[in-house]
Symmetry: D2
Subunit: 138 residues, 4 copies
């Protein structure tokens, strides 16, 4: 359903800070992992989930896979958009995909991440708690 | 040939610094991109190539793809080893693979990166310069 | 004059990202240097100066001194405000002071930085160019 | 006594990594906070104190003040030395001073930090525990 789909697709706007740029004059590739993290945590907020609160409840979501394709560079003071959507949701993990666009809607980067549900006390994988499941369903 | 192969496989030893750890108490996933970068630049040094000098000559090697699988966490003050080897060498790009092990030789992370040869003046892809080619051949 | 003073005092609002927090559960002290940088570059923007454009013209503003006092911690997802004002403007340098407040207007951090005008070609100190001088005067 | 003094003065050698350099081609000023942290934790190790173990015992040492003077820049692949010594030791806090030199023994940076002893459970200031006190005395 269109409405549900859009609820599960979110966008944040960011601007390149000075320290994020390397001596080639482009955003250092590692910085994108931070952009994706911020986008993912915002996605959770849009579903009514505070990641801070999740961790306080002992539910951790560490990353187990990341892949990023860099198509065009970003430079200092560039504005850009990170679009986030859910890819897969399984009892033990959730996968997101992302694409980053500049102000001209040119694709800068595409990316995927996979995260597992972990019990913060034992640091072992666990099933996604019931109250969270509907947040991740399409 | 064993000798050639070992010349193309390098290892660096690192230790987790305090600021690299997040509030889950494990090394933040983005930090691994820095570990791989340091390992890759060391690999080049072992072949007699200074990446600083390459850039001064206007030969840039920006990253176009990264993928990382996180199997086990690292914690503050852990010692670990980054093993680097060349995967593919083509006229326009070079790919490396990595695995990170802890002191007990347990696999922590595996990773792949792809880099393109870029002309620093035009920021356009170019063929690997002749004098560099033999550094990347197996 | 009140109007001029307020023109020279700016405020940005930020929110703590996950990766900025260390294993004590508080924002790592080094992150504040990035907050101050972003606040300072925004201050310049409010005076009509793009730091990106300055660098393209060969005018660099490297930092020569920083001092920060940490009074209270910030935690993940906290909103906070960085207030920036100009302290001193001399032919060769400019100094800013900052204070960071949380949403309850409690002081989190106070800080000072000093930056010098540098010729990007020679990397030597130079006098602040004429067209910039009025941006920094009170 | 000379021996004691040298025990309380330590040096680590580091090398500038690629990601630590900004688009001016010099090490970004915030990176120095990480160099000082690594030097300080090494200083503790030289006195037989593991900071990881301290935190596990619930003894935290957050930073309350930092000041850095940048005299000369560092560039990619530069080797440098961070010299650390204890400045002041009081029941509730400890202060360190640092100077960073390049390979030619030219001063790059001088710095000071102040840290407080904090009870990890309450996150409140506390007196330095007895078993630690002699580590900090001159």
């Amino acid at each position: 359903m269109a409405f549900t789909m859009s609820k599960k697709k979110t966008t944040i706007q960011l601007r390149v800070n000075y320290h994020q740029v390397d001596q080639m004059g482009i955003v250092h590739h590692a910085q994108y992992a931070y952009f994706l993290e911020q986008a993912r945590i915002d996605w959770l907020h849009q579903q009514g989930v505070s990641y801070a609160t999740l961790e306080q409840k002992g539910i951790f979501l560490p990353l187990t896979e990341i892949s990023i394709e860099y198509k065009r560079p970003l430079r200092f003071e560039d504005n850009f958009f990170v679009h986030t959507s859910i890819d897969t949701f399984e009892p033990y993990y959730v996968a997101f995909s992302y694409h980053i666009e500049n102000e001209e809607k040119t694709i800068i980067t595409t990316a995927h991440t996979r995260l597992v549900f972990v019990d913060g006390k034992t640091m072992r994988a666990m099933k996604c708690p019931k109250f969270l499941q509907d947040k991740f369903t399409f």
